[in-house]
């Protein structure tokens, strides 16, 4: 990261060569300090705390049924959220890019809402809609025997809601870039709408979709606020990994808390690496 810059004056970029070697080192030091204080040191300490007493506590934590259940529930919620957001994300992107309809700008603005509204507010609003007593959807669903709040469907719903914009925001620009020429060419060659979608549109946007899905997954496994409100946080039943971390930590069960935290952080690091590799591929694909 702190590569020593190649010495020598740069003739073409005058403003850069004004900064002496010392100035450049200072600037780099500030950036590195900032990133370290905010990101690198805290994340590193999570791993250090998880592994400081060797592997035994980690293995013990990861075989604890409560921890296993929390991690499973997080994985289930994240997978549902990815599937739902991939399907609807592509559909909504197509709608936004390829069609004109009244209310399009409003829909476009609404898509970003989950990013700007606090997850706690999202959770609260879901409680209002899906509660069994007087929820506008919760009541009829309860009569059908479907329970949304304090169970897996509610957790999936909250997680999906929170990560909804990520696929759309990745796919929309790719669709715009792709244009309609190829699709029109396909239909003039005899392809139906369905065939055109699978053979022309999807291959063109696939990296955008993959990228969006990866981001969506990362966001989903980290979701806390909305899930905390809709799940009821019942240990061993509706407690996701992030909720478990908080509770275990507050109960002075630090070994387990840090183990789960390390798993979540590790997953995030893997995902970010995947994204970095994908980004290169997408850019190479576009050029």
């Amino acid at each position: 990261m702190a590569d020593t810059p190649t010495a020598g004056p740069t003739l073409t970029q005058g403003s850069r060569s004004v900064g002496s070697g010392a100035g450049r080192v200072t600037r780099q030091a500030i950036v590195i300090l900032y990133l370290s204080a905010l990101v690198v040191i805290p994340v590193a300490l999570v791993f250090w705390n998880a592994f400081k007493d060797g592997l035994a506590p980690v293995v013990a934590a990861l075989t604890d049924p409560v921890v296993v259940h929390a991690l499973q529930l997080t994985l289930i919620a994240a997978l549902w959220s990815v599937v739902l957001n991939a399907v609807f994300g592509v559909a909504v992107s197509l709608l936004l890019v390829r069609y004109e309809f009244p209310g399009k700008r409003m829909l476009n603005a609404f898509i970003d809402l989950p990013l700007s509204v606090s997850p706690v507010v999202v959770g609260l609003s879901l409680v209002i809609v899906y509660n069994v007593r007087d929820g506008i959807l919760g009541q009829p669903l309860a009569e059908l025997g479907i329970r949304v709040l304090f169970s897996t469907p509610g957790i999936v719903l909250a997680t999906t809601f929170i990560s909804m914009p990520l696929v759309v925001r990745e796919v929309v620009p790719v669709l715009q870039e792709q244009g309609t020429d190829q699709e029109q060419a396909a239909s003039s060659l005899g392809a139906s709408g369905w065939v055109t979608f699978w053979r022309i549109t999807m291959p063109g946007i696939r990296w955008g979709v993959v990228y969006g899905v990866v981001l969506c997954f990362a966001r989903s496994i980290g979701e806390f606020g909305a899930v905390k409100i809709v799940s009821g946080n019942i240990t061993g039943r509706t407690q996701t990994a992030t909720l478990a971390v908080e509770q275990l930590y507050q109960n002075f069960n630090q070994a387990q808390a840090f183990t789960i935290a390390a798993v979540l952080a590790g997953a995030a690091i893997v995902i970010i690496s995947v994204v970095a590799v994908l980004r290169v591929r997408v850019e190479r694909n576009e050029s």
Partner: protein, 334 residues
């Protein structure tokens, strides 16, 4: 008659792209839709292909009523200005697309693709991706792809518009030769009058959503139906209240019968041609005359000298309307 367009109107909001257009395009010929940008010619082509729906009017293709058919059922080949290559498929796969959709046997597809790639001189490029081809090669690939499904008509929307001048000239002559080989009814859109005059069997001139004139290149050039058509087909000038072509004026250095006396106000040499401006009336606008260099040398005149101008026998001319700003300046030849 291959394509019959009957009273087609198409509006975008308040803008009228096609205003009650009726055109008949004969079978087996190469027809150019010629006109300025925004004049409606591309819209007409897209209505024929089914890529746009007309607000009113009807289209029939090879005797089949096509007005309400979606593009995939019209059996037209369409070639786009920007190629619309399927970027993620090889050249051969691009060409095979229409045949694969029709679930033709693999052997037959391979044979047909090979044949078409040979026809468009891309045989050794079958395994490449479109991004590895030049613009001209991509457009030839798009043409092969459109021809693969044996369309009853081939429609090309400014097919050479995105190419540089030299490639454009080569490719349009190649298109002419290709058409002589395959004889499929072909319609291409262009704003380049030289391209239309050089390549097409028939020309339909379209302006402001209406058909100005249709006919063979000679008919259109020799007897333009309107001042617009005349001005659009090449440089024009005004002489004695008539619109004429600069090369249709004879210049003399001495008085001759029926010639008008004028003073030379400007002389400009452009390559093989000399453009001379002369005006009969010092206040009025000058008349420009195009001469060969040899002719100009023989005249021995320069700025300030007096010449006599006369319209060449048989030259097309028409009364100039009051200077109509709606009529664009002479289109660029190129």
């Amino acid at each position: 008659m291959s394509i019959i367009v009957n009273s087609v109107t198409k509006r975008y909001g308040s803008f009228v792209a096609l205003d009650d257009v009726s055109v008949t395009i004969p079978s087996g010929r190469l027809t150019a839709l010629l006109g300025p940008s925004g004049g409606g010619k591309s819209t007409l082509l897209r209505v024929i292909a089914g890529l746009e729906t007309a607000d009113s009017g009807a289209v029939s293709i090879e005797g089949v009523e096509a007005t309400d058919l979606p593009p995939q059922k019209r059996n037209v080949g369409f070639v786009f200005q920007h190629y619309a290559a399927f970027k993620h498929m090889s050249v051969a796969k691009n060409v095979a697309f229409g045949l694969e959709i029709r679930k033709r046997p693999k052997e037959e597809i391979k044979e047909r693709v090979d044949e078409l790639l040979k026809l468009v001189h891309l045989s050794q490029f079958g395994d490449r991706l479109p991004s590895q081809l030049s613009g001209g090669q991509r457009q030839r690939m798009a043409l092969a792809r459109a021809l693969a499904v044996e369309p009853s008509v081939l429609l090309l929307d400014e097919p050479f518009g995105a190419l540089d001048a030299q490639v454009r000239k080569e490719l349009r002559l190649w298109l002419r030769r290709l058409h002589d080989e395959v004889h499929v009814t072909t319609v291409f859109v262009t704003h380049d009058q030289e391209e239309a005059l050089e390549v097409a069997d028939d020309i339909v001139v379209i302006n402001q959503g209406r058909v100005e004139q249709s006919g063979t290149p000679d008919e259109i050039y020799d007897s333009p139906a309107s001042e617009f058509v005349m001005r659009f087909l090449g440089p024009t000038t005004v002489f004695e209240g008539a619109v004429v072509r600069p090369h249709d004026l004879d210049v003399f250095s001495m008085a001759v019968r029926e010639a008008v006396r004028a003073e030379v106000t400007d002389v400009q040499r452009v390559g093989h041609e000399v453009r001379l401006t002369a005006s009969a009336n010092p206040q009025g606008p000058g008349t420009s005359v195009a001469l060969t260099r040899a002719h100009f040398r023989d005249l021995e005149v320069d700025v300030g000298d007096t010449v006599w101008l006369r319209l060449a026998p048989g030259a097309s001319h028409m009364a100039a309307a009051s200077t109509d700003p709606a009529i664009p300046a002479t289109p660029s030849a190129g």
